[in-house]
Assembly symmetry: D2
Homo-oligomer: 144 residues x 4
Amino acid sequence: MTDTRDLLDASPSEIPLEAGDLAAAIDACLRAEQACVACADADLAEAEIVALRRCAALCTGCADICAVTARTLSRPGAYDLYVIHRLLQACVRACTVTADECEQHAAHHQHCALCARACRACAEACSEVLDDEELQELAKLAGG
Amino acid sequence: MTDTRDLLDASPSEIPLEAGDLAAAIDACLRAEQACVACADADLAEAEIVALRRCAALCTGCADICAVTARTLSRPGAYDLYVIHRLLQACVRACTVTADECEQHAAHHQHCALCARACRACAEACSEVLDDEELQELAKLAGG
Amino acid sequence: MTDTRDLLDASPSEIPLEAGDLAAAIDACLRAEQACVACADADLAEAEIVALRRCAALCTGCADICAVTARTLSRPGAYDLYVIHRLLQACVRACTVTADECEQHAAHHQHCALCARACRACAEACSEVLDDEELQELAKLAGG
Amino acid sequence: MTDTRDLLDASPSEIPLEAGDLAAAIDACLRAEQACVACADADLAEAEIVALRRCAALCTGCADICAVTARTLSRPGAYDLYVIHRLLQACVRACTVTADECEQHAAHHQHCALCARACRACAEACSEVLDDEELQELAKLAGG
């Protein structure tokens, strides 16, 4: 159990997106970041490193994008919906591509199975926020 | 529920510290990071910003230290016990100082109450790893 | 002098964008990140904190976006042009909004003047990469 | 040319360490971070990935430690000398170990040669700050 939702509710700033969806996306980003960091590290120690090199590269990059997405969504006082929109798109894409790669190794490496699941969940949670009509509308008005 | 412990267990690298303690510290770091990011953002939007400026400064710095501690502990393939020892010391200190500050505002600001609790829990979880006799011994041998 | 360009040239991966523009954007991102971190910290210590609170909030968020953009552009082995396109858009926007805010305080606070200049330079360097026709074309094909 | 030193001078906070040394350490950390990120990515794309796997793992971890050290030193308003002392120790160690590894591949891989040099320079710049007598004294008083 995290306090993510309670922290959003405790902010004095108005939050123009659904707080439950935001909290779910933040938590999913942090889990995917952690899984990607661990999976990349494990890949490098496996005997099959040659087959896992693309996995390690994708996980390393995906971790950083998940991290910045979690932080940006955690700051309603400084929300810029255009920035949020673009970061969420980048995060959904990075998580989807990483999950696709990890799934190919999931049968042989439990860290890949866990990481694929965490990235897939993150892509879904971020898509949920991205589907918000108001976000799409405002991102457009905001110059997107 | 996170997969942190399962990811440690899935690593092909030998883990010279207690995996349960490590997983608890990683999760506590990620929660404290998220709480600190949210609390600093909320501080800046409060009417009492003058009284909360030190809280915002401490939370911003603490978030970064929690983040790097979580990542470093998540990479058993590249563990350097001297580095881990120093990072854990820095993290315990940053979290303790931040929790002390947040507690002074906890009665008036729910985000400070939540952040204080998350930082205190992180300091405790990191201390648990730091108390490991082997870590202290190896950190010393390693040149600490 | 940095080695950014030489490191891009030393990568065994093919780089589908102009290396000089990429190196300039990476360096500009790292400078803007550093300036934003320093400016936010200075804002919180100024007597005029009430007037500078929005500056501190924007700088804090902008720093994280510059950091992830610098890292993502530094990894040609894992380039995903759709992700790069979206991150660059987010970075240009965050830097432009932060520079606009910092400029309003530039006459009174040298850290704001320096930060405004670094953010403006970063927005320009990232726009240069973003203007690459191939990037726009590939980002579209890639599902953008 | 960076504005790092000018930003330290523009801070309203008193700086208890030598500003020139601090600015040099911050810039060296950012360069080492960038080199490590690029070197790890290049390692994964090399034919000799098996021989370079330890290099990739060390560079990935070192990058994160350099990043947090640069940020922490850039925030004099929130300086905690005990935290700074521990982070600098961790950074010197991570950079030294990474430089040692990269140097073994420097003859065959230009990215390793560049990264070794950046890490060595970072270890030296951080050691310079660490050697400050006042820092050592205060770190002790502060509970170190």
